[in-house]
Symmetry: C2
């Protein structure tokens, strides 16, 4: 089975041009088939503010009315995505920027209104793995913005990049041996949040439950790890969580970051 890296890069790295450039150099150097899913960063909030559009967040998720949808479509689908694509092309990586609407690679459903109306926010409904596979076999490197679309209305939908990454990884696991890699600004999952070097090298599901029960792993890491373990249980071969600067080391020999493994 051919190998595939599905790599997610978070917003904090995107907000820092030097860190982003280091990450993209490392990403470009990896010889495997690969897909990058990027977050949005703080630029959308800054642009919205300048345009006089108020940002409302609930549990870290952006409420996306029509004006905010236009902002994230501009910033994520335009500025952030094309900046990354241009930089990768300059580094001889044949990047192609995509939202879920492009070639219909990721269809979604607008999130139903329950206690909170998130607005134009999408939950992934279907990943077109044949199309992504065709791009990969055509020598292309898909760079996916955190935007999906509703095929019924044609509307773009703001979508969480972490869940997009795990959905893409799971969908491609039938055709590739997939390593899903979450890159962010920490060295991995920490056993002590005050010590940046206290990286847990490996976590199996039973240990994860124990860490959660003890409160060692909490808050923002829980949805990320829930996503990651779900991917592992659905055919993804390996999940890695690492610092953006340690991508190559984490992928090539596993000596950096946290590896999530099946029991």
């Amino acid at each position: 089975m051919e190998k595939l890296l599905v790599i997610k890069i978070g917003g904090n790295v995107i907000d820092n041009p030097e860190a982003l450039d280091r990450f993209l150099s490392s990403f470009a150097s990896l010889p495997q088939h690969k897909i990058l899913i990027h977050g949005g960063g703080k630029i959308a909030t800054q642009v919205a503010e300048k345009l006089g559009i108020e940002t409302l967040m609930v549990d870290g998720r952006r409420i996306t009315d029509e004006a905010m949808l236009n902002v994230v479509t501009m910033v994520y689908g335009g500025l952030v995505n094309k900046t990354i694509v241009g930089k990768l092309q300059q580094k001889d990586s044949n990047a192609i920027g995509l939202t879920g609407a492009d070639a219909a690679v990721i269809k979604a459903r607008k999130r139903p209104v329950k206690e909170i109306d998130y607005g134009f926010v999408g939950d992934v409904a279907a990943v077109n793995s044949d199309q992504l596979s065709a791009f990969l076999h055509g020598g292309l490197v898909p760079i996916i913005a955190p935007l999906t679309f509703d095929p019924a209305s044609g509307s773009m939908l703001n979508t969480n990049a972490d869940t997009m990454a795990s959905s893409v990884a799971v969908a491609l696991a039938a055709q590739f041996e997939v390593n899903l890699v979450y890159c962010f600004e920490k060295k991995g999952v920490l056993s002590d949040p005050t010590n940046d070097d206290a990286v847990i090298p490996q976590i199996a599901p039973s240990a994860y439950q124990a860490y959660k029960a003890e409160g060692v792993i909490n808050k923002g890491m829980i949805p990320k790890l829930d996503n990651a373990f779900a991917a592992l249980q659905n055919g993804v071969a390996k999940v890695t969580i690492c610092h953006a600067d340690q991508l190559a080391t984490a992928v090539n020999d596993g000596s950096a970051g946290t590896q999530l493994i099946n029991e």
Copy 2:
């Protein structure tokens, strides 16, 4: 030889949601291989104004400093491009949005500074016709924003959509029988600018020279027609200039718009 439509849609139609929707329905209905190149419209100027960035135009061309480059990358590459792609997907057309940087489909050179420094403005250097052809044969409909890129720096470059359309048409003329179609808000090239129905049905190069000498054709139409005749002299089978609402009629039976033909 397979047929290919290379269609350019101008900014005035993009600024009008109803007109854009009518045009896209018509575009989606055409069964041929097709590529759409879209202009930017006035949204970039409006967004720039709200962001406190001044718009400077020289001879109808936008001076593009770094702040303005970010605006056009957001608006053309994000908002306008993805809005079109989403609408076409909703109309069952398998659209894929591209800038020149995506899959390196259109490389450019930053325009040299002479009397005027246009800033981050690109002149097309190379069209990757094999990649565009692969997309077409893969059942995709490329939707190209008026942005190219400089492979040496990785920088996006603001680029005139008319010249991008003729460059794409010429590059693909070796592999396809290309009909290049310029859609705008007039019914064609007019023999009397005060009479919207005075459409000249056909123009050959000698007649074009005569019309220019008499002043029948002038101003903004001249660069457009110079581009169009250059395409015709470089392998493009047919050039059509028509109203956005008459796309299907102009393409299917030639009874609308102006056809440019070789002598």
